[in-house]
Symmetry: C2
């Protein structure tokens, strides 16, 4: 027998229990092949099948046509932050960013740090990143527009894919990839660290529209030139084989769940448990504008920091982990990624109701 | 019950069976904490303990003092190939390399590709990389000297740490790290992809002498500036948490085995089974100079390519996998990393003797 806590971590995050059980079953001897996935040559037929399956799942789930490349890279979103301007911002153009919080800020600062011309096309910094700015003011000669579709720390999320016209739209979808349908055709590049909605830490999904390949700047280090990985099917060097295998299993689990519209419905249902409490309470307080609030990360405050401490301690005792807000903003935060079971949200909601009664 | 093949893969490679069994046991519920290591926040106390333990093991095994930093990064040795000249070769100095084969060639080409002055201080290309060149001719004003201590494809290995005098010595030890004692004090930087001797693919061990920190070039992208990762204990962003956990378990297994002198003795014993056959046969033929041959990767040829094909097919049928030589050189290759059990080598040796009898 094993124990499972209710895991509200912002990432690395909860994985589907059935996926973990399958990994466990196959760990020492993968499907009778006599070795662990961790021990397989990435050049073996068995492993090639594993990465091909994962790639095919990405394409099916997102409805990608042959005009998109799917890559599994390393280094997290933070590596994409400098790789994107390095590849796609020539010296005579300007990298455009929407600043919606800490991670968006890191992305735009990195473009400036490596010497690119950078422009903030919209920002919600004026109100502590509590909303998604809708109006864009692009620079002259923009190389691309970069957005962060879900803001893990602040709990805001794009509900509508923005329209950048002819300007290539690039999105960090690390914290809401495959949690809801998106109009992928609007995007020139989508990237996502796997460790929130689609797997463990250690690989980054990159989806690149093929017309972008010709725009790649010359003279880049081999490992941060997207062409390297496209040419070799993500296997120019040894890829993070086990992390990709686990992502593949999570993707199969997503497919077995249904379409992304089904997943969104389920995620709306889960989030409603918590938002309904916030909306009908003068004890709990949501921190972001209603129309922009995230289905994935729900930050909230209690009447005092002492009560917040008490709340976090008592939830932990009751088997609900990682409800502390990000250290940069304080308060509480519940992350409800795809794999978080409904029963975890039900338990938290009931706990919140009881805690309010007992502490009002 | 489970099946285990004899896995002679050059990497990703065989892992200790007891490590795999421990991972399997703890996979869904790590030591009663109620979640998988894959689901843990990297900011949690439990995970901090895991990475601290792995770091402490590296220091104990290699006998590192407080003058060295230990990092767990992403992107493989190939990412280090450009990161090293980016950090440690200023424009007025010259990056020096010893060229001992395919990976060394990639490393030195990458330094040139990113616009650094590069110099080949020694090379064994004249004899198809079948030996380790002993004489060095450094350039004027060298920034560092880079070597590859073991050459996976060709099967050569440094038996003695080279003397670079005052010039910082940098080594790619991906394929022989912790397989034998090295005089670490001679090295300014050591790096190794984990997937051969110390774990699964997905993390790269970097060991950096602290006096190198002040030499780091200014203005680098955040993720490829070593200072970023030193300042944050390899957790500037989400690290490859599970890969580091597995490395930690393999390191504990290495420690339980004994000292690196014990490990070398064991590896010499294993390699002798195969080298003794090569030395006493006119059927099998070793491909490298005797004094430089590797304990980790043993390439060998048979009298004809047809016999090589037959040999590889029959070993596979007998449960011995991955004995095909690298596609760039052909022939056969047995990789005998730390975790390869003695019984696998015994089986291969007996098979080689029988195959020679039957096919001579």
């Amino acid at each position: 027998m094993y124990k499972r806590v209710h895991n509200f971590s912002a990432g690395p995050a909860v994985l589907p229990e059935e996926v973990l059980l399958e990994i466990q079953k196959d760990l020492v001897d993968y499907k009778g092949h006599g070795l662990s996935v961790m021990e397989m040559s990435h050049r073996s037929k068995v492993y090639q099948g594993i990465i091909d399956d994962a790639t095919a799942s990405v394409k099916r789930i997102l409805g990608l046509g042959d005009d998109y490349e799917v890559l599994f890279l390393q280094g997290g979103a933070s590596t994409q932050f400098f790789t994107i301007p390095l590849n796609f911002c020539p010296d005579n153009q300007v990298a455009n960013y929407v600043n919606t919080g800490a991670w968006a800020t890191k992305a735009l600062k990195e473009a400036a740090k490596i010497g690119k011309k950078m422009h903030v096309a919209a920002s919600s910094e004026d109100k502590e990143f509590t909303y998604i700015p809708k109006e864009l003011e692009l620079s002259e000669n923009p190389a691309y527009l970069h957005i962060t579709t879900n803001n893990t720390i602040r709990g805001t999320e794009y509900k509508k894919d923005p329209d950048a016209g002819d300007v290539p739209l690039i999105a960090d979808m690390s914290s809401d990839i495959m949690s809801r349908p998106v109009d992928v055709k609007k995007y020139a590049l989508i990237y996502a660290g796997a460790q929130k909605n689609i797997g463990p830490a250690g690989t980054t999904l990159v989806i690149l529209r093929k017309d972008m390949i010709d725009k790649i700047n010359p003279g880049l280090p081999t490992m941060v030139d997207y062409r390297t990985h496209i040419a070799k099917g993500s296997m120019f060097n040894t890829p993070p084989t086990f992390a990709i295998y686990v992502v593949g299993l999570v993707l199969k689990w997503i497919e077995s769940f249904g379409s992304l519209a089904d997943m969104e419905k389920h995620n709306i249902k889960k989030a409603s448990y918590i938002y309904d409490i916030l909306d009908n309470s003068d004890f709990y307080r949501g921190t972001v504008v209603k129309e922009d609030r995230s289905l994935m990360n729900i930050p909230f405050r209690l009447p005092s920091e002492d009560l917040e401490k008490k709340f976090i301690a008592e939830t932990a005792e009751a088997g609900m982990q990682n409800l502390k807000g990000h250290r940069s903003v304080g308060g509480c935060r519940a992350s409800l990624y795809n794999a978080l079971p409904l029963k975890s949200v039900e338990k938290l909601a009931q706990f919140m109701i009881d805690f309010e009664k007992n502490n009002k």
